[in-house]
């Protein structure tokens, strides 16, 4: 599936969830399936700055595609990380850099992008894209 197909699917999944509580339960469940970062990498080098909860992200390149792993000490943040990884993982750096992220607003999680949230969804996306940019430069 392409990134836009995945985000479309996520929008559909979320549209079935009317109550905020269902959305958050969905996120919490999703967090349980997060591809976890190697515990040895849960250190400051992989930590995303500016988050109230701690988030670590790593990326590996396999056959020209990027695969992300992550972890967080907060459950909702973990769910958000899992959501993002579901969108981005297994795609080429170029696809990741150019991905359209308007789905976040569509699924009603826009408040998590607010800079006052300090939950790091915005920082997470930035880091995910940085990895892609770095691999992209290396490939050239």
């Amino acid at each position: 599936m392409t990134i836009s197909e995945i985000t479309q699917k996520i929008v559909e999944d979320f549209s079935a969830l009317e109550e905020w509580m269902d959305k958050y339960n969905y996120l919490i469940e999703m967090g349980k399936e997060l591809p976890l970062i190697d515990p040895a990498l849960r250190n400051d080098n992989y930590l995303i700055r500016g988050c109230q909860s701690r988030v670590w992200i790593n990326a590996d390149l396999k056959d020209g595609k990027i695969f992300y792993t992550a972890d967080s000490d907060a459950i909702i943040t973990k769910g958000l990380a899992a959501l993002m990884i579901r969108v981005f993982t297994g795609h080429t750096p170029e696809e990741i850099i150019n991905a359209d992220l308007s789905f976040i607003e569509k699924i009603g999680l826009k408040e998590h992008l607010s800079p006052t949230r300090s939950n790091g969804l915005a920082s997470m996306i930035k880091q995910i894209k940085y990895f892609a940019m770095a691999w992209n430069l290396k490939n050239k």
């Binding site: 905020w20 509580m21 958050y24 339960n25 919490i28 109230q52 909860s53 701690r54 000490d73 907060a74 459950i75 909702i76 943040t77 300090s118 939950n119």
Partner: protein
Amino acid sequence: MSEFPVGKIREDFPVLSREVYGKPLIYFDNGATTQKPVQVIEVINQFHREHNASIHRSVNFLSDTITASYEEARVTTQRFLNATKPSEIIFTSGATASINLVAFSFGETYIHPGDEVILSTLEHHSNIVPWQMMCERKGASIKVIPISDQGELDLEAFAQLFNKRTRIVAVTHVSNVLGTINPVEEIVKISHSNGVPVLIDGAQAIQHGPVDVQKIDCDFYAFSGHKVYGPTGTGVLYGKEKWLETLPPWQGGGDMIDRVTFEKTTYNELPLKFEAGTTNFIGIIGLAAALEYLKSISIKEIESYEKHIVTYASNALQQIDGLKLFGPTGHKAPVFSFILNQIHPYDTGVIIDKLGIAVRTGTHCAMPLMDRLGVDGTVRASLCFYNTTEEIDRLVEALDVVNTMLS
């Protein structure tokens, strides 16, 4: 306790009747900022509509009128704090600016290499960083008053921190994280017996009970307008005249000068020496309106109602399984820091926000205190006189939801 008219008081605060996410707002983030009563909003509105002109500058009707109101605000503040003279009241942009002023100006005059400043473990970053910056500039160092596990200052250890290099003590009146009310009079007594002046950070105290700077006998007292139901961008520094007279200005600019030439400038008299540039004068007039408003309700009545809130909330929170409440439980301001069942404070905050309850989560600008408590952060519910026991019940219910969703 005679019936405190909390219902009527709530009507004075327009924002309290709004909803968030379709639920009635419960505002428990008063430690971060307080809401504004119509009495303050109207004054600010009216001054912008009818009386706006720059203060202390021009010979015109409007300027004279607003200058008079600004100076009345100084008298109102002086009386609220029971300071000796209006000239001991300096208007600033907030408690942070007030503390920076003292750290800079006091530091310039009285701090030399090898000197020491005493702070406490309970301090907000605003009462740490300005001193650190000054100490770095001057080659001085900081000593810290330790706390007990209940979050109370260890006064015996405090008395041991003094030596002949101690130059100033800067301590918070009320902890923004734990609600601890520090024995400021005793702190001042101990300091003065060592010949050392004291600055009290009153940012979390001024809104919760009477403050009498003569009784406390502190040398400086700082607070913010926006935490005492006044406008944001306003603040107060009280200083004893004997100190303010000897300190050099912090910032240079208009209003603080006597005469300027390119060779030398002489400074204005107190208090204007410390009010460089155009202050937030309409905001300051709004702040005076907030203080008048509190006086009209009676700050003593507020204090006694909040005591009732402290007892009610402490009991309610302590009955929740797995809730760890930090800080003292009896004599304290209505500030409650807790962690629920080892759930990350951020997760708790996000869920109860969805239920209409505004709290703060994280380190609360007090990282050294978090280190002392051995946590990365807490959930903080900070209440005040417009909050009710029913709202506390709703918090307890919301925490039940958090438990169900996240445990």
